[in-house]
């Protein structure tokens, strides 16, 4: 970071651009996250609207994954982690006393960096969520959910003849689409994706990106990515994180063609990061 950029970061008190949208699906306000005494997220406010893809970009360690994991309380599994501020889903406080994180995660699904299919058949991988949540009353309904989810994830045609094969027998890109199908199967309202393509080759990546665009019709999506091209291709709005602060958030086109903040400009033009 050069001198002027350092100053720009030190002087940063408020996010540049429009962090809020009308009728948000999820709204976060003044979120601070601590690991023990170490603060990982500083005062971040960001909305995720209906039927939009929000991309979160930024250099490694900027806190974008940590922020994403706050949105479905996955950070609860880390004992030293503490979250402050307000996060709401349809106006309901995520960290409120009445909210059951287990039920929340059925509404806010997550796709991880590395494909992580269970040691089960393809069918059982997808049927896992509907089964534990009792979403189907008989086998035919479950079959429908599984087929539908696999179709939405663009995987059905490739695996329809071997639904009994283990999920781990698929290729990396297929495994990731299986994981997406798995999260679609519980009909979440929001899907969080943590660098879903970082372990995949360009062709598999292109498939997933197409898929993300289709999924936008039915879900709100937040995606963390290291690839700026990917952010530009799939998202409607882009948020730039830097060292735990949200520097700038705006329409994707605006961020990439006309960044307002010096740090954002430096990052997207490849001067650092």
């Amino acid at each position: 970071m050069n001198k002027s950029a350092q100053e720009a970061f030190d002087n940063l008190t408020e996010t540049v651009g429009d962090a809020q949208v009308d009728k948000p699906k999820m709204r976060t306000e003044n979120v601070n996250v601590f690991y023990g005494t170490n603060q990982a997220i500083h005062d971040v406010s960001l909305d995720i609207g209906n039927n939009e893809v929000v991309a979160m970009i930024g250099p490694s360690g900027c806190g974008k994954s940590t922020f994403l994991r706050c949105l479905n309380r996955m950070n609860d599994t880390i004992p030293s982690c503490r979250v402050e501020g307000s996060i709401t889903l349809d106006g309901e406080d995520l960290y409120g006393p009445d909210l059951d994180p287990v039920l929340l995660r059925a509404r806010v699904g997550m796709v991880f960096q590395k494909p992580n299919p269970f040691a089960k058949s393809i069918y059982d991988n997808v049927a896992y969520g509907p089964r534990i949540h009792g979403l189907s009353s008989n086998r035919a309904e479950l079959d429908d959910i599984v087929t539908d989810s696999l179709k939405k994830a663009g995987l059905f045609d490739e695996v329809k003849n071997r639904l009994d094969a283990p999920g781990t027998s698929l290729s990396g890109g297929q495994q990731q689409r299986l994981c997406i199908a798995r999260s679609i199967a519980v009909s979440p309202e929001v899907i969080l994706m943590d660098e879903p393509c970082s372990a995949l080759d360009p062709i598999a990546t292109a498939r997933i990106e197409e898929l993300i665009d289709e999924l936008r019709q039915n879900f709100a999506i937040a995606i963390v990515t290291h690839s700026m091209q990917q952010a530009a291709r799939v998202s409607q709005r882009t948020a730039y994180f830097h060292l735990g602060k949200l520097v700038e958030v705006n329409d994707t086109k605006a961020v990439f063609t006309n960044p307002q903040h010096e740090l954002t400009e430096n990052y997207i033009t490849g001067r650092f990061g």
């Binding site: 509404r107 997550m110 991880f112 999260s183």
Partner: protein
């Protein structure tokens, strides 16, 4: 000088040569412009000298000691009295043995027979000459070897290559000793079993249901036939192992799940070693615990509800054996459960499942092959276990599925067949080898399957 002292001296010489060779390497190096000009490190040159000093000397000592008795014995043949020679080879052997013993126990002066005394003195003289010759030869070889090697300390001598080659042979040798021992044990068991099957039909042994291994010592003895049907023993073994697994699998698995998924780091660091102590208790302690505490308790409880329980029961032995093998199940299962990637748990939590759903439906299925491997290893341990069943299971060879009766196992029968005074070539004694072979085959199969399963599981996540 005895052979042991000689070996020690050779080793001491080798140590000395190491130090000297290393020093020499430094000196040679300084003449040729520093350590950089030498192919190997000074310690390699030292090691080379030491090996040249010790290995030929040790080889000579071992070779000498191997052929020495034969040579001395043949030289001694000349001084054996004619009447002994006439009496045949067995008597000669006996006579030589006698002389050897007299020399060993230093009682030559007390020998009354003049001929014998002469032979003994000759033997003592021969042994003395042999040991002195060996000492001189070995020491010469050691010194010559070391000095030859010292001369070879030059910049282009590849001492490291030589030393590492020799070290590799030592390692191969050490590994093959363990393997050869196993092969030897298996071979001896197989050959004795073959002798047994010459006397008893193989199918009578494997499929027979009557076990009473009493064979006649005298021809006129009553009840002499003996029958060697091993089925009751295997039924007893399986019954007790089954009871042990019923105890060990649930407790072991549940404690492994608690340790891997729920226990805090602190609790885990205390509880896991405590559990593993169970495996360290001597089995004889488990044995009298089973025989003196558990068996009477079971009998008492059984009688109070009107069941007839024998004082030695399969239940008592099996239950205590189950406690003993809990750590086998729990420790291995704990390892494989911990090895299930966190990403898989995250994936399950991310779909909105609870911790217990995640464990039951994601973690355990993923760890299942490893858990099965652990259980099979525990089972083979249970089948081969001896002390507990000797003390608590009884000796009654009967085919029963009632855990309250006394049964007997393969291992118990092997113990009873081989302890005490036995005629070695009787079918009764040889039966022990046949039983041992069967037991070995069964546990070997279990172990192979278990290791195969565990390995398959490892491949999945690497």
């Amino acid at each position: 000088m005895s052979a042991t002292t000689l070996v020690l001296v050779a080793i001491a010489l080798a140590a000395l040569s190491f130090a000297y060779g290393r020093m020499q390497a430094f000196q040679v190096a300084s003449k040729h412009g520093g350590m950089k000009s030498m192919h190997s490190l000074p310690s390699h040159y030292g090691m080379m000298v030491a090996l040249w000093c010790a290995l030929p000397a040790l080889a000579i000592i071992i070779g000498w000691k191997l052929i020495e008795p034969t040579v001395i014995s043949s030289v001694l043949d000349g001084s054996i009295p004619q009447e002994i020679v006439d009496a045949g080879p067995k008597t000669i052997e006996l006579y030589k043995n006698d002389i050897g013993n007299l020399v060993d126990s230093d009682k030559i002066s007390g020998i009354a027979d003049a001929g014998k005394k002469l032979a003994a003195e000759k033997l003592r003289g021969l042994r003395h000459i042999s040991s002195v010759a060996l000492m001189i030869l070995a020491l010469c070889v050691a010194v010559v070897g070391a000095s030859l090697a010292l001369k070879r300390i030059k910049p282009n001598t590849r001492a490291r290559v030589t030393v590492e080659k020799i070290v590799r042979f030592f390692l191969i040798g050490s590994a093959s000793i363990a393997i050869l021992t196993t092969v030897g044990i298996v071979a001896s068991v197989i050959f004795e079993s073959l002798r047994f099957f010459q006397q008893v039909d193989f199918f009578d042994f494997v499929a027979g249901t009557q076990w009473s291994p009493q064979t006649a010592i005298r021809a006129d003895q009553a009840g002499s036939s003996g029958s060697f049907g091993a089925v009751p023993l295997f039924v007893g073994t399986l019954l007790i192992s089954f009871i042990a697994m019923i105890v060990a699998v649930p407790f072991g698995l549940l404690s492994a799940i608690y340790l891997a998924e729920y226990a805090s780091r602190r609790v885990r660091s205390i509880v896991k070693p405590l559990l593993e102590i169970l495996a360290g208790i001597p089995t004889v302690v488990y044995g009298f615990f089973a025989a003196l505490t558990v068996a009477p308790a079971i009998r008492h409880v059984g009688e109070s509800i009107g069941l007839s329980v024998s004082s030695e029961s399969a239940l008592a032995a099996g239950a205590v054996m189950g406690i003993m093998i809990i750590p086998f199940v729990s420790s291995l299962s704990d390892d494989v459960i911990t090895a299930v990637p966190q990403a898989m748990r995250d994936g399950s939590y991310g779909l909105g499942s609870t911790k217990s759903e995640t464990i039951r439906q994601v973690v355990i299925p993923a760890a299942l092959p490893g858990i099965v491997g652990g259980i099979l290893l525990a089972a083979s341990r249970a089948i081969g276990e001896t002390m507990i069943v000797v003390m608590a299971a009884g000796l009654a060879a009967k085919i029963t599925a009632n855990p309250l009766e006394a049964v007997t196992t393969v291992t118990v029968q092997i113990v009873t067949l081989l302890t005490g005074d036995q005629e070695f070539d009787s079918a009764k004694t040889l039966a022990a080898f046949a039983l041992g072979l069967m037991l070995f085959v069964v546990t070997l199969c279990l172990n192979v399957i278990a290791l195969q399963v565990v390995r398959k599981y490892r491949e999945q996540y690497e």
